[in-house]
């Protein structure tokens, strides 16, 4: 049973000052199994953030259905969407989005406080989680006292503290240098090995190569997907780069298939 299932999802933006509608997503269907680590790649403006926002119930699709952890998102009333998001999802952003008025510990505790968790239980969880993310000695610091990588780890801790069914990340390494980015990706890998389902949007082929599966979006449509299978990270990286090149060259997936690898099917599952 997949943890996340999208069926024929579409999203059209109507801007207030412009009569033209922007078709940000068109007919997207995909499913994510529990314990999977999926990366989403695509050009700027291709609709990746839109997709993530829909999954996070921050926005509503124009058509199609999204099923998360057994709940159809459109059936959740507006007033309970925030609570649902808090309980089932963790979100990591490119620019960390920490609150500068809170210290590290309070930033991490934020979702738990909003869920009215008793103080002792909160303390226990933060003390258990912080060492895993290398934040044990940073709990009383304020965001401005931390490096970018540390801030992003705090954001990750905030996303993980509620034990979410799905961790969403929108370009989590976008604001980090390659070394810190690598550290964060290693961390994500470890979390995934421990059973955490992750859905990550990224521009970086290196980042995507940490995942088990890579989805490619072009102009709001699912363009292609790659499975890691038995490939090593470097081999996957090569395939990702090839697909990206093909996609940027605006080739069709079948043409891309020639340059990429023959075993990458359009949307079908790869035969292991």
């Amino acid at each position: 049973m997949p943890i996340l299932e999208l069926k024929n999802v579409a999203k059209t933006y109507h801007t207030r000052f412009n009569a033209n509608a922007v078709q940000a997503l068109t007919d997207i269907s995909l499913s994510v199994e529990a314990g999977e680590y999926v990366a989403i790649m695509g050009e700027s403006g291709s609709g990746k953030s839109t997709l993530l926002n829909l999954i996070a119930a921050l926005d509503k699709p124009t058509a199609g259905s999204i099923d998360l952890n057994g709940t159809e998102l459109s059936t959740i009333p507006e007033s309970r969407a925030a609570k649902f998001r808090r309980e089932h999802l963790g979100f990591v952003f490119q620019d960390f989005n920490l609150l500068d008025t809170f210290n590290v510990k309070d930033n991490i505790l934020l979702p738990l406080v909003l869920s009215k968790t008793p103080v002792p239980a909160m303390e226990k969880r933060v003390l258990a989680l912080a060492p895993q993310l290398g934040l044990a000695d940073k709990l009383t610091k304020f965001p401005y006292e931390l490096s970018g990588g540390q801030q992003q780890r705090v954001a990750a801790a905030r996303a993980l503290i509620t034990d979410p069914a799905l961790l969403l990340a929108d370009e989590p390494t976008g604001a980090l240098d390659s070394h810190t980015a690598d550290e964060l990706l290693t961390l994500f890998g470890k979390l995934n090995q421990a059973g955490q389902t992750i859905l990550m949007v990224t521009h970086s082929a290196v980042a995507a190569s940490h995942a088990q599966r890579v989805l490619f979006i072009r102009d709001g449509r699912l363009f292609h997907q790659l499975y890691r299978g038995d490939l090593s990270q470097d081999e996957l990286l090569v395939k990702i780069s090839d697909t990206m090149t093909a996609m940027l060259a605006k080739q069709t997936p079948t043409q891309a298939g020639k340059t990429a690898s023959a075993d990458a099917a359009h949307t079908g599952k790869e035969a292991d």
Partner: protein, 669 residues
């Protein structure tokens, strides 16, 4: 020249932030023009009153002007800070395109110079207009004496212009210092990186506590109304300092304490707000303190002037218990006068008839002495200075008392009462229920009955009492029993009684005034002629002027309050917009976000109102004591007016808050 052109462009390009700033500075100029005009013309406005009142009024407006300048500096400082903060980005941009610190400084100075020119000229012009307008309205509606030319004097205009110019000079220095200390580019980076947690400023906290308690103590403890005016303004300055220090340092301290309490802090409603407050108070403490001070000034000014206006009958009654009274100096009282009491009466009656005034009642009272006495139970003693300085003015039981012999009393009332030794008659404008009276250490006197006052008091001012003794000897005995030097001096004058004629009149005020002047002019053995109508007109004039000024200033205060509220909402909306977006992403529903914002705004904006209420309540008894200088002793009335003013202001404040909160919500969304 280049910089001025650049500055002009900047002003036009950043209308949204410069227009409120210019508005604030112009408002300040107007307020100063008006305040200084009144100070300069206080002598004329209060010209129909005693020298003491004139001096007191001039003094009061002098301190008012000082408080206004202090307020002006703080307000300008605040508005300027807002300006700088909103423009960091723009300054950084100029920095990028090659403006050095010197060039930036010159540009900012040119901007301030332009603003100064605009706000000073506009402020002086509008200041004249406002002063003139108030004068015109006053002249038309309330009939202020024509020779009061306030608003046209060049001196207060120059003074106000000078003060505003000096304030701008201060802003130039502040800006230069700011530019010296900061690099706009770095500021920009720092702003996006978040700000550091404010430390508890212990020194400021202690200064605030000390200043506020000292100010409160002075306002409550200094009960001598005459010497206290000076002290009151010291108290005002102390309270202002205390308010600012406590809003800035005390609030951080309290919210940090709250954060330490985990059970309280880790609740959704408190969590976000407490943390936010710790950070916001550093920037907002000064703004909130300004709002508090402005609100307090509004309340105090309006309540006081309304009380003075409503107190006109009391003020008049204190000096003129009857419609018309004069000291009779006829052949019956002095050997020198050629006019007999009968001639005097006939001539006054003739004059009254000529002036279309009917004499309803005529009372002739011969008083041996008039002394301030304090009645405590059965004991009577000579009032001391301390008796005048109770919490709400003179202490209870303090009565201005007339002493009269039985012979004169019988003459006045036309009766034939008898008193035996150790018996007296006692009467008063307030009920006196004593059955015996003991003067000093003398043996107690028995109160035989109620003495009828010579006149019907028009309003309850400070109490008046009438004591009727068997004869002069009994009276002398009683007064001497007080035992002091003053008492002996008073006893010595008992042998020279004075006769006052009290007339109750019927006729228009104008006719009564004419009659008063006619009696004063004609030589018919009348001295110290006083007409209540005449006095009432004068008192009403300057109380109206006072009320008018009070309301005008109140409007200014309220406008300034609205301006600060607006500024705060704009700057805070901008600062909070990102914060609330994050909260929404983390899992706060829009409704919860709105609730959080609301509860935060509520605390932020109702704290000043509450503190202003407390300040006013503390100041109220003191102001009442000062009001006794104007012969207003009814502190219940004053308390009622303060409460009503507070209620009206609270409603206005809520409206202003709601209106400006819209701005905030629009930005946050």
């Amino acid at each position: 020249m280049f910089y001025f052109r650049l500055a002009a462009t900047n002003l036009r390009a950043h209308k949204r932030i410069f227009v409120p700033f210019l508005l604030a500075m112009t408002l300040l100029a107007i307020m100063n023009v008006i305040m200084l005009s009144v100070h300069a013309d206080a002598g004329a406005i209060f010209g129909n009153n005693g020298v003491g009142v004139q001096a007191a009024a001039t003094e009061m407006f002098k301190y008012g002007a000082i408080v206004m300048v202090i307020l002006g500096v703080i307000l300008a400082w605040y508005a300027n800070g807002f300006l700088l903060k909103q423009r960091t980005k723009q300054l950084a941009l100029y920095n990028v395109i090659g403006f050095g610190k010197r060039e930036l400084r010159l540009m900012v100075e040119a901007e301030l110079a332009l603003c100064a020119a605009i706000s000073i000229s506009l402020g002086v012009l509008l200041g004249i207009a406002f002063s003139r307008l108030s004068y015109l309205v006053l002249g038309k509606m309330l009939g202020v004496p024509g020779h009061v030319a306030f608003g046209l004097d060049a001196v207060p205009l120059l003074q106000a212009a000078g003060i505003i110019a000096l304030i701008y000079l201060l802003l130039v220095l502040l800006d230069a210092n700011w530019l010296r200390k900061h690099r706009p580019l770095e500021m920009l980076r720092a702003a996006s990186a978040g700000e550091r947690e404010p430390k508890t400023r212990w020194l400021l906290l202690i200064i605030g506590l000390v200043a506020l308690s000292a100010g409160y103590a002075a306002a409550i403890g200094i009960t001598d109304p005459l010497g206290a005016l000076q002290w009151f303004f010291i108290a005002v300055v102390l309270v202002i300092i205390g308010t600012y220090a406590l809003f800035i340092a005390g609030s951080v301290f309290i919210f940090k304490l709250l954060r330490k309490n985990k059970r309280y802090y880790y609740q959704p409603a408190h969590f976000i707000n407490v943390a936010n407050m710790i950070h916001r108070m550093r920037q907002n403490g000064a703004g909130l303190a300004s709002i508090t001070i402005l609100a307090t000034m509004t309340l105090v000014t309006i309540a006081t002037t309304i009380t003075l206006y409503c107190g006109v009958p009391q003020i008049v009654a204190a000096t003129d218990p009857a419609d018309l009274s004069y000291l009779r100096a006829t052949s019956a009282e002095t050997k020198k006068s050629a006019i007999t009491p009968a001639q005097n009466q006939a001539q006054v009656a003739a004059l009254a008839a000529k002036h279309h005034v009917k004499i309803v009642k005529r009372t002739v009272a011969t008083i041996s002495a008039s002394v301030p006495l304090r009645f405590v139970g059965n004991r009577v003693r000579l009032a001391s200075d301390q008796d005048y300085s109770g919490l709400f003015g003179p202490k209870p039981g303090l009565m201005s008392s007339d002493l009269m012999t039985l012979a004169h009393y019988n003459q006045m009332t036309g009766r034939h009462l008898q008193l035996v030794k150790n018996e007296i008659l006692l009467g008063g404008t307030r009920p006196l229920k004593q059955t015996t009276l003991q003067f000093g250490r003398a043996e107690p006197l028995r109160v035989r009955g109620t003495a009828k006052m010579a006149y019907q008091p028009n309003a309850a001012a400070m109490g008046n009492a009438l004591l009727v003794f068997k004869d002069e000897a009994a009276m002398t005995h009683a007064v001497r029993a007080f035992g002091s030097k003053v008492a002996h001096f008073a006893a010595a004058t008992l042998a020279a009684p004075q006769t006052t004629v009290y007339l109750q009149l019927k006729g228009t005020d104008q006719h009564q005034i004419a009659l008063t002047h006619a009696i004063d002019r004609t030589k018919l053995g009348a001295m110290n002629v006083r007409g209540a109508a005449d006095n009432r007109r004068t008192v009403l004039h300057w109380m109206s002027a006072f009320l008018f000024m009070g309301i005008l200033l109140g409007i200014m205060f309220i406008l300034a309050t609205a301006l600060i509220l607006y500024y705060k909402q704009v700057s805070e909306g901008l600062a909070d917009a990102k914060r609330y977006r994050i909260l929404q992403q983390v899992g706060l529903s829009e409704r919860e976000v709105k609730q959080t914002i609301n509860s935060q705004l509520l605390t932020l904006f109702y704290i000043p109102l509450i503190v202003a209420g407390v300040h006013t309540a503390i100041a109220a008894p003191f102001i009442q004591r000062v009001l006794t200088l104007f012969q207003i002793f009814n502190w219940g009335q004053f308390a009622g007016i303060v409460a009503a003013t507070l209620a009206v202001f609270a409603v206005l404040y809520v409206i202003m808050y709601k209106a400006t909160a819209q701005v905030y919500f629009r930005i946050v969304k």
